[in-house]
Amino acid sequence: MIITDEIIDYVSSLARLDLSGEEKTKIKGEIEKIIDYMEVLNTLDTTGVEPMSHVLPVTNVFREDVVAPSVPREEILANAPEADQGAFRVPKTVE
């Protein structure tokens, strides 16, 4: 499958990645290889095979509706790039 520059631009913008021209060329080749590799699956005859929605033969893994204590806020915020007044502080985002 041919991966166009437009596809690379689109996918990298969806992933919020800012790629240099060199990186784009490199990634284009890599993605093409990955897609071609996955193409192998399309050579299989899957007539009559139900699409699978999960790889493990398990269903209905539930928990009871019971509250357990949350984690202390300091721990929750420990990995925040910035925190202020108990909240994560992030660059301005307005829809």
Binding site: E64, V66, N79, K92
Partner: protein, 478 residues
């Protein structure tokens, strides 16, 4: 404006926060509010390597809502990831259901003044709520609070079956009543536990295809929804009449200003890249499980309304309003259990009671007076302890703090004068003071009687039984 008549076509996406104790995929509390980020754990804040585990109650609530809206229940369902970058969801995806939602193809019957209609439900799916973002104007940054992140939601998606705001409001009222009866949500719009996105388009009347629709997000009161619909209909028609075209976009409704703004441009169209959620197992609902939930469903608004009409003889209108709000219907039952006078109780509930209960913010409905106390007021009227006017006054006075009405009547000396002699004396006094009016009455001017009644009531501080007073007054005038 040209001669073309336009039809509005509306579909609704209603999000309802479920009244579970814990979140959908972790054990944090779903309680509203709280200090920022104090109802959080590694799962709901999207730390790497954590695994979500589905809250069984969410599935049960989903089945219950599906059954109450005549949906088909999906017996083999699963979750999907909806990918997007926005700081309200720290995982950078929302766990939702796209391919196999828990319910499909339902119907909700609505009615209002002059219309009755079935609104089709396209689907209902389970998903997690997002966090809250607050803009900080000082630092020009955004603060993220993830307390609400992971609170379970049901999204109820209707078909585009509405043609005006009245139908939309009737549907929302009906849906809200169903959700409250089932006990699956408190439906507090002001706290965001019931939110509606409005998809709206217009088309020339008679045209079969739909026009291009816009979506207005998260409008949080019935009144605001009605206003947003009127404004968006007008905006789209004007756009078309001016030779322009409607752009498919998401708009934010500013209720204070009465206008909506485009939120995302077309260039920025969302591509959610849904794929099956690998961290959650499929949800298999057996016929037995479904039937068990069906059997446990409480009486729903429709049945309760029928019961009030047939069993208590209430009008369709009265029964509809009372059963439309679960708290009000429960209250009615309690007061009626004491008094056994359904119509009298209904009359009380539909008057000042309704106004006071709705006096709070937004669409809130708060009953402050206990049923026993309302029953006492009604009993005092029945037993001629106080007259109706005084009863209204007492009602208004005791509402806020749920005071004991009997005590209030005693303390304020409001009990009616049972003493016929005192009333007779007052009548004599008033007649003596108003010879001209008496002469007018005797000359056939019947309506001056009202003035004399008023004068006597004033003398008696409003504490006379109007019927007794009338009789004695007429006797004295003979």
């Amino acid at each position: 404006m040209s001669e073309v008549k336009y039809e509005t076509v509306i579909g609704l996406e209603v999000h309802t926060e479920l009244a579970t104790a814990s979140k959908i995929f972790c054990s944090c509390t779903t309680e509203f509010g709280g200090e920022p980020n104090t109802h959080c754990c590694p799962i709901c804040t999207g730390m790497p390597g954590v695994l979500p585990v589905l809250n069984q109650k969410v599935v049960e609530f989903g089945i219950a809502v599906g059954l109450a809206t005549d949906c088909e229940i999906t017996l083999y369902g699963k979750f999907d990831r909806k990918n997007y970058f926005y700081p309200d969801l720290p995982k950078a995806f929302q766990i939702s259901q796209l391919y196999l939602p828990i319910c499909r193809n339902g119907v909700v019957a609505i009615e209002g003044e002059g219309f009755q209609k079935n609104i089709r439900i396209h689907e209902i799916h389970m998903e997690e709520d997002a966090g809250k973002l607050i803009h900080d104007p000082i630092f020009d940054t955004t603060h993220a609070d993830y307390n609400r992140c992971g609170v379970p939601l049901l999204e109820i998606v209707s078909e585009p079956d509405f043609r005006n705001a009245e139908e939309v409001i009737a549907y929302l009222e009906t849906l809200k009543a169903i959700l409250q009866y089932l006990g699956v949500s408190d439906c507090k719009m002001q706290e965001g536990s019931l939110r509606a996105d409005v998809n709206l388009s217009v088309r020339p009347l008679g045209q079969a295809e739909f026009g291009t629709r816009t979506e207005m997000k998260n409008i949080n009161s019935f009144r605001a929804i009605a206003r947003a619909i009127a404004a968006e209909r007008k905006r789209q028609i004007e756009l078309i009449e001016d030779g322009g075209r409607v752009v498919q976009e998401t708009r934010r409704w500013d209720d204070a200003k009465g206008v909506s703004y485009a939120m995302r441009s077309k260039e920025d169209a969302q591509d959610y890249r849904y794929f099956p959620e690998p961290d959650l197992s499929p949800v298999v609902i057996s016929e037995e499980w479904k039937e068990e939930i069906r059997k446990s469903l409480p009486m729903l608004p429709k049945e309760r309304k029928a019961k009030y009409m047939e069993g208590y003889g209430l009008s369709s209108y009265d029964a509809g309003i009372i059963t439309g709000i679960k708290a009000l219907a429960d209250y009615f039952d309690e007061v009626n259990a004491i008094l056994g006078q359904p119509q009298e109780v209904a009359n009380w509930l539909l008057g000042d009671f309704m106004r006071l209960a709705k006096a709070g913010e937004g669409d809130s409905f708060d009953i402050l007076l206990s049923p026993v106390h309302l029953a006492e007021i009604i009993l005092m009227v029945k037993n001629n302890v106080i007259n109706r006017n005084t009863a209204k006054e007492v009602f208004a006075a005791v509402w806020q703090e749920d005071l004991d009405p009997r005590q209030y009547v005693e303390e304020h000396d409001l009990a009616m004068v049972g003493d016929g002699d005192l009333i007779k004396d007052t009548v004599a006094k008033v007649l003596a003071a108003n010879p001209k009016t008496v002469a007018e009455f005797k000359a056939g001017k019947e309506k001056v009687l009202g003035f004399l009644v008023g004068q006597c009531m004033k003398e008696l501080k409003g504490k006379a039984d109007p019927a007794t007073l009338n009789t004695l007054l007429r006797e004295a005038l003979q």
